[in-house]
Amino acid sequence: MANPMEQFKVETLQPLHAAGYDVSYTNSSAWMVVALLAIAIFLFVGTARPQLVPGRWQAAVEYMYGFVVKMMDENVGPEGRAYVPLVFSVFIFVLACNLLGLIPWIGAFTPTSHISVTLGLAVIVFATVCVVGLLKHGLHFFSLFWPKGVGPIMGSFVCFIEFLSFLSRPFTLAIRLFANMTAGHVVLKVFGTFVVALGSIGALPYVFGVLPLVANVALTALEVMIAVVQAYVFALLTSLYLNDAINLH
């Protein structure tokens, strides 16, 4: 029986080496390019001929953009408008990677099911938060870790914990997305093997295979929801972290 982890194998399509590092063009890179093309087509077609009363495609683009703008306005305030492009890019890239990986065609691959990809995105967010906070507030940025209205002993203890939780942010951000995608795809493929195993009972072929197939359809619907929710969560946490850096607290 096929190993459910096989789908996460990164295969080299075009070997490349630069400065002693392996920077080969892999199926992961190929799927990120597919995601970028899908996003580009979606946004270009939606904004090609803008009309006062938007058509269906333009309405879809406007809804997604408005969704991110509203989230930034609610969580960060007026100063958050400058970071809408960053959050929108991260949101739509994660969403496209998650959704394209769910389509069960041959060679399907989800770039966001690899921690190297999600950690890369999370480090971009984390670095932006640190740079924005330090540029905007200078050394006053470190008051983020100090709780208000607490004595010095308790304060230094809480400060230490806050600092650790701040440092763990990029890792939790990356692991949340990666583990969700990995676990979801493993479950789908495990149920896929159940279809074969139950459907190949000698006395009554095909009949019992229907049960895990139905479960798999329902699970695919759940996975589509999780793909959207995780992209939203990634963008939401990005906006909350930016809020910490911009407004302190």
């Binding site: 609610e74 939790t172 692991i175 583990a179 676990a183 969560v233 939401l236 946490l237």
Partner: protein, 75 residues
């Protein structure tokens, strides 16, 4: 017991953590629904917070899943 068997059993034990996170996620969405039923107009505000709490809680369960994956598949 050889090391591989112990690792597979450990992976199964680590997966218990995901079930415990399910308790937390269920509590969060239960309380969210409770709040929305009591005050439907607060839905917009509560939804974002519920999703935030869900994300933070779920991350802890997923740590357990990652440990399980590591024990089961990393060799």
């Amino acid at each position: 017991m050889d090391v591989h068997s112990a690792a597979v059993i450990g992976a199964g034990l680590a997966a218990i953590g995901a079930g415990l996170a399910a308790l937390g996620v269920g509590t969060i969405f239960g309380q969210y629904l409770n709040g929305v039923v009591r005050n439907p107009e607060a839905d917009g505000k509560l939804f974002g917070r519920a999703i935030f709490g869900f994300a933070v809680t779920e991350a802890l369960g997923l740590m357990a899943i990652v440990v399980a994956f590591y024990l089961a598949f990393a060799k």
